[in-house]
């Protein structure tokens, strides 16, 4: 990795966010991590700070959020349709769901790279990082 990795964490559970953050740091101590407990805020950030996402930012997106679900968030994201944003965002669904349907939906969605079950582990982070580089 050349420069500091950028990570966006969107999850309504603060505990989860902090765990995730810690895990990422344990792999990439220099990582740039922003957490959102409210998906709307994340949306706002992505829209207005598109440049900050360059060259690429990894997004860990939870599914089960009260106000806006993960899927709804993705739909909103697609509606924004800022080409740079979508290009630079590497979206991973991270969910406690064990529902097969969510998994297949993730597979079918072109904007989602992959689906991971919580919790985010070091292995997961490493995989993501390698994928980013490779």
């Amino acid at each position: 990795m050349v420069h500091a990795a950028k990570f966006l964490l969107v999850d309504d559970d603060p505990i989860n966010n902090s765990i995730c953050q810690a895990v990422i740091r344990s792999v990439y101590p220099d990582a740039n991590i922003i957490t959102f407990e409210k998906p709307e805020e994340a949306l706002q950030f992505v829209t207005h700070s598109a440049t900050e996402l360059l060259p690429s930012t990894t997004l860990f997106l939870d599914l089960n959020m009260p106000e806006l679900s993960g899927w709804e968030f993705l739909d909103e994201l697609k509606k924004i349709n800022i080409a740079d944003v979508l290009k630079s965002l590497r979206i991973y669904i991270v969910s406690s769901s064990v529902d097969g349907r969510d998994k297949s939906k993730a597979a079918e969605d072109s904007s989602v790279i992959d689906f991971f079950s919580k919790p985010v582990t070091k292995d997961i982070v490493r995989t993501v990082g390698n994928a980013m580089n490779g």
Binding site: D13, V23, S97, K118
Partner: protein, 854 residues
């Protein structure tokens, strides 16, 4: 001018005599008249002359004597008288004195006398000349002798009258002689004329005679006498005309299509026209005695016609006519013919028979045709009768066959020697007198079901040959036709029986099926229906169903449109259609499947077959099943959702725990470690909470067996109000209730309590920010279920967005508010456990209404 009868007998008949009589009579009469006249004229003339003479003489004498009378000169008177004496026819002359004395007289003897006879006395003393006597004998004239106007004497002269008579006699004698002479002349002349006339007339008569005896072209000759000439000419003309007519008649007769013989008064055949000669192949011009050369037999009796029995003979001998007598003749060439014989006597104006006309009409052909017709009639009648026998549908076959075989012989030419036999299906039927015979006609019977037989007709005697042995060609046709008739009828019967059986079967099926059937014709009139259909129809529409009604008209108006559209579609597509419908029958809602199939006849839709199946039970089962499935699916979904949510809610803390555990594995600064541990604790607690919730939920599902009690809603609400009185006060919540329709129900009190409580607390919790909460709870009874309505004026729910999640587990819409989001889920569970349904209606900003049906 008619001659009176007495004279007629006297009147001669012969012309000559007539003429003679006529002329002579005329002459005699005329002459007699003439002579008589002449005589009478002469007589009167002479008498007149005499008279005149006498008177003149008397006068003269009186004149002359007057002086002498006065002077009484008798001598002079005598002289005077003497001078008159030579006067012709003077018988006497006298001069009388005034007193009647004879002064002078031619007869001297009488002088001086006084006549005293009547004659003299008749002398009147008048001064005029008087005729004293005038008769055939004498004429006595007296003339007065006047002197100075006084009578001084009389002169009387007497003239002879007799000579007149004598004269007359002579004339008369001569006259008669002349008459006789004339008579003679007359006779002679008349004889001559008569003879002449008679000769000429005789010539005419002889011409007639000649013609009568047969000479055709004789004509009367002319004569000098014009009238006879005219007569002769007229006669000739007449003869010509007669000749022409005769010729015409002859031609007619010759060319008449019937044979005509004419007989003379003796009964001898004088003519035979063409047709007669053709019929007899010749003609014999013979008399009655020889009539037997014409051979014939009476058709009715078969006896030979004798000479005097011939119609012509009868006409001549007895004057009787014969009409249309049927005879069979043998012509001169030996051929046999049938003839209608008629004969009529001919009479003259005196009713005397002068001949006869015999007419022979050849009816051989006609008779032959009549015979043929008769035979055809017999055959036809046999066919009719057979047909009629076969039409009898109740008699069994054997009876029919026997009847037929009995009437068969009557159809053949010689019924008296004819008999028949029918064999069929191993049974034999014969007419009386049937026997085996070589002379037979046979026809075969073959029926559709493979049975065979024969019809045989036999003659028991030899008969003249025809087309097929002694049998006519038409009889062959007859026997074949009869066999066919029987086959047809037999086949019909078989088919009919099969049909009846099949119909009975079909009817059994039709009537005993579960499906109602209705048959309609092209115009949608009712043709037939089974009981099931009828019952259903009549129960549903309350009118009787009848054949030949128009079905559409008999439907309820509201369904007519759709039904007629369905029917139209079938007519158009010629394919059956099926559709379901609901109908109210007897107050019960029934589900029906209606199948409308076209009745096709050679590609044309002749009608419709409507089949109605009552699928209510099945439908209800189906509906129930569907409901159950829906319910199950819903439950399943709920369960899945539940599972999903639970798993998620379980997994979240678990994931955190795992993550934290992983992190704690590493060496960490103490502060961080503590932080992590604290988080770990929190996560574990969270996990525990979820499990507890789960338990609670599961418990609810299990507690179906808790006892049901009668719960009063009013009491219930009052209790709740009491328990949350502070909250109500704080929020200024108003609770209205209306339990008039349903004051309470039998149910699990804790659940209903919980339900009410949840709704009330939710309404308060999610009240509209700008107004105080108003809650209205009402109850109603619908379809034997209790319907509870909880309506509020709160913030409302966006049903479009969140409708699915209202009762979802851990779904909250306003995360700002406290609550885990299991309230409504629990409520729903509780309602469903009680066997009820829960619905929600809401408008954001207006309010929400929950409807619970228990």
């Amino acid at each position: 001018m008619t001659i009176p009868p007495p004279v007629r007998s006297f009147y001669p008949s012969r012309l000559r005599n007539q003429l003679m009589l006529g002329i002579c009579t005329v002459l005699v009469v005329l002459m007699s008249v003439f002579v008589y006249y002449m005589v009478k004229r002469q007589q009167s003339f002479l008498k007149q002359q005499n008279l005149v003479q006498a008177r003149n003489l008397a006068h003269d004498l009186s004149m002359n004597a007057s002086t002498y009378v006065v002077t009484n000169e008798f001598a002079m008177l005598d002289k005077l008288l003497q001078s008159y004496k030579p006067y012709p026819n003077l018988r006497y002359a006298m001069v009388l004195s005034a007193n009647g004395r004879v002064m002078s007289h031619t007869d001297n003897k009488l002088v001086g006398l006084t006549p005293n006879d009547d004659v003299s006395r008749s002398l009147k003393s008048e001064p005029q000349v008087q005729t004293l006597v005038e008769n055939n004998d004498v004429l006595d004239i007296a003339a007065p002798v006047m002197s100075d106007g006084e009578i001084v004497g009389w002169v009387r002269v007497g003239f002879e009258q007799r000579y007149i008579l004598q004269n007359l006699d002579a004339i008369q004698r001569n006259g008669i002689l002349y008459i006789l002479f004339a008579l003679g002349v007359g006779v002679i002349v008349s004889l001559l004329i008569a003879n002449r006339l008679i000769r000429e007339l005789s010539a005419l008569v002889s011409t007639v005679e000649k013609i009568r005896t047969g000479k055709q072209n004789v004509r009367a000759s002319g004569s000098r006498t014009m009238e006879i000439n005219n007569l002769a000419q007229t006669f000739n003309q007449m003869l010509d005309e007669i000749s022409a007519n005769e010729h015409l008649l002859e031609m007619m007769m010759e060319n008449m299509p019937v044979g005509v013989f004419t007989l003379d008064e003796k009964g001898i055949i004088v003519s035979a026209n063409n047709a007669a000669r053709e019929l007899w192949n010749g003609a014999e011009y013979v008399g009655i005695e020889n009539f037997e050369v014409y051979k014939a037999w009476f058709v009715d009796s078969g006896k030979r016609v004798q000479a005097h029995e011939w119609g012509g003979a009868v006409a001549i001998e007895r004057g009787e006519k014969t009409l249309n007598q049927e005879i069979e003749v043998e012509a001169f060439d030996g051929s046999r013919k049938f003839v209608l014989n008629s004969a009529i006597p001919l009479r003259d104006e005196h009713e005397r028979i002068i001949g006869a006309v015999v007419i022979n009409v050849d009816i051989t052909e006609r008779k032959k045709l009549a015979h043929q017709v008769q035979e055809r009639m017999k055959e036809l009648r046999t066919i009719y009768r057979t047909s009629k026998i076969l039409q009898n549908e109740t008699d069994n076959l054997n009876t029919l066959l026997q009847k037929i075989v009995d009437i068969l012989p009557a159809g053949w030419q010689y019924p008296e020697v004819c008999a028949a036999k029918i064999e069929f299906d191993n049974k034999v039927f014969t007419s009386p007198n049937y026997q085996a015979s070589d002379v037979k006609q046979v026809a075969e019977i073959i029926t559709e079901d493979g049975k065979t037989g024969f019809i045989s007709v036999i003659y028991t005697a030899e008969k003249p040959a025809e087309a097929e042995g002694p049998f006519l060609k038409e009889e062959r046709d007859l026997i074949d036709t009869l066999a066919e008739l029987f086959e047809v009828q037999y086949n019909k019967r078989v088919a009919y029986n099969a049909l009846v059986r099949s119909e009975a079967n079909l009817l059994a099926v039709f009537e005993n099926t579960d499906v109602g059937h209705l048959l309609l014709d092209r115009n949608l009139n009712v043709v037939a229906f089974n009981r099931r259909f009828q019952t259903g129809y009549e129960k549903s529409l309350q009118t009787p169903l009848e054949v030949e009604q128009n079905y559409l008209q008999r439907l309820a108006p509201e369904s007519r449109e759709s039904v007629s559209q369905h029917y139209a579609e079938v007519f158009r597509t010629k394919q059956p259609i099926e559709y379901d419908t609901k109908l109210d029958i007897d107050g019960v809602e029934k589900y029906l499947t209606i199948n409308v199939a076209p009745v096709l006849n050679r590609g044309r839709v002749d009608g419709l077959c409507v089949s109605v199946s009552d699928i209510t039970r099945r439908k209800l089962l189906e509906l129930e099943r569907e409901k159950m499935i829906a319910d199950l699916m819903q439950r399943n979904t709920d369960l899945e959702q539940f599972a999903y949510i639970v798993s998620h809610n379980l997994r979240t803390p678990v994931a955190n725990i795992i993550g934290l555990a992983g992190l704690l594995d590493d060496a960490l600064p103490e502060a961080t470690r503590k932080q992590y541990l604290s988080s770990l604790g929190a996560s574990v607690k969270r996990l525990d909470d979820v499990i507890k919730d789960l338990n609670e939920i599961l418990q609810v599902r299990r507690q179906v067996n808790e006892n049901k009690v009668q719960v009063d809603f009013n009491a219930l609400v009052t209790n709740i109000k009491t328990s949350i009185s502070q909250l109500l006060e704080r929020t200024n919540t108003e609770i209205q209730t209306d339990f008039a329709d349903a004051t309470g129900m039998l149910t699990i009190s804790s659940y209903i309590n919980s339900i009410f409580y949840n709704f009330i607390s939710n309404s308060i919790k999610y009240a509209h920010p700008s107004r105080t909460p108003k809650i209205k709870i009402s109850s109603a009874t619908e379809d034997s279920r209790v319907v509870l309505r909880f309506a509020d004026n709160g913030a409302g729910i966006d049903m479009e967005k969140h409708g699915k999640h209202v009762f979802g587990l851990y779904k909250r819409f306003d995360v700002a508010k406290e609550g885990k989001g299991i309230g409504l889920f629990m409520t729903k569970t509780q309602v469903e456990t009680l066997g009820g349904k829960i619905n929600v209606e809401s408008k954001p900003g207006v309010g929400t209404e929950f409807i619970v049906t228990l």
